[in-house]
Symmetry: C3
Subunit: 140 residues, 3 copies
């Protein structure tokens, strides 16, 4: 069994945005030498997501609006208990639960085993700081 | 390490519906010969889900109503930016995020290692076309 | 390839609550002897979740309020079809979909490969009974 680990460093200038990391994950798979196996890609921070969907900017705008409706940003201590601790990012902890922490992807013949439109995104909900994504690969 | 890959073909006549694929996944595990390992089951399309819950038709009705409230179908270009591209399925991209893309299941003694009521479902949110589910198994 | 399986028994006195199980998962990894691999942690019941977020009590209060807004408890047969079967826990089946069934975590050098604030939680949405969490580890 082979294993391989790498991290990607993200630095998103906006509070909320999505970054296509598909190419970085494919590069990690190539580095690993794994031809058949599984690849875990997860946010290492709890106000960020990794998810798979479409690389279409209109859809990303829709997601931002929808997530803001489901869990609005509100730095005041009234809406969120979490923001009574001095934090202002309670909304980000909620948004991340909707979009998910991680994806597991299959590796087949050394490549991401994907459907026609699948792309991997980093979802940032409390940006303007350095964060990391973990890529862990096992297989042979 | 053994590995095995198969795909299931789905063709759901409704726009939104759920299909129990537990038996198909168990068959793939038997084909693989893997006794101890992990099995990834994921939708290969970004307007569909794979999730684990109860095989109870009333609950499935509840899910459909709830998902329609959280992300209503609206083909017009007003509500969703994505539907300004000529698509009408922006709602399906949202519903899939709530229900999830994939499940990871444990294989123990050659079987799905499940609690008493766990069943695997394909969730379709933009049906009336052929789609695929990927099953990837690793173990020994 | 090594593999290891254990279950955790949960008995949450409240209908809804969150329990930090990070230490139990780390213990299972130590027992397994796996230094490099993957670890699946999933609820074996369909009205419970396993998720990763912050161990901050204010945030947990926020989650409870938010989940109650997204999928209110209502034992009557009017709101949820599922509760016409004699059950009263349809809301719990919805809350679990928001928070997720499972997490996959990387094992590196024999430890959970985590960011600074990542903690694993069991999320109970229909408690006051005994339930189980599955931990399945593969690697070497």
């Amino acid at each position: 069994m082979k294993h391989h680990r790498t991290t990607l460093t993200m630095n998103v200038p906006a509070r909320m945005d999505f970054v296509n990391i598909t190419h970085d994950v494919q590069s990690a798979i190539q580095e690993s030498g794994v031809k058949e196996g599984l690849c875990l890609v997860n946010a290492m921070h709890i106000t960020a997501s990794v998810f798979i969907n479409d690389d279409e900017s209109g859809l990303h705008e829709d997601y931002k609006k929808w997530l803001e409706e489901l869990a609005p940003f509100d730095a005041s201590p009234e809406r969120y208990h979490h923001n009574r601790t001095g934090e202002d990012n309670a909304d980000a902890h909620h948004k991340r639960q909707i979009m998910g922490r991680e994806v597991m992807v299959a590796i087949t013949k050394g490549k991401l085993d994907f459907g026609p439109w699948e792309q991997i995104f980093y979802g940032e909900f409390d940006g303007r700081r350095r964060k990391r994504v973990l890529v862990k690969i096992i297989g042979e």
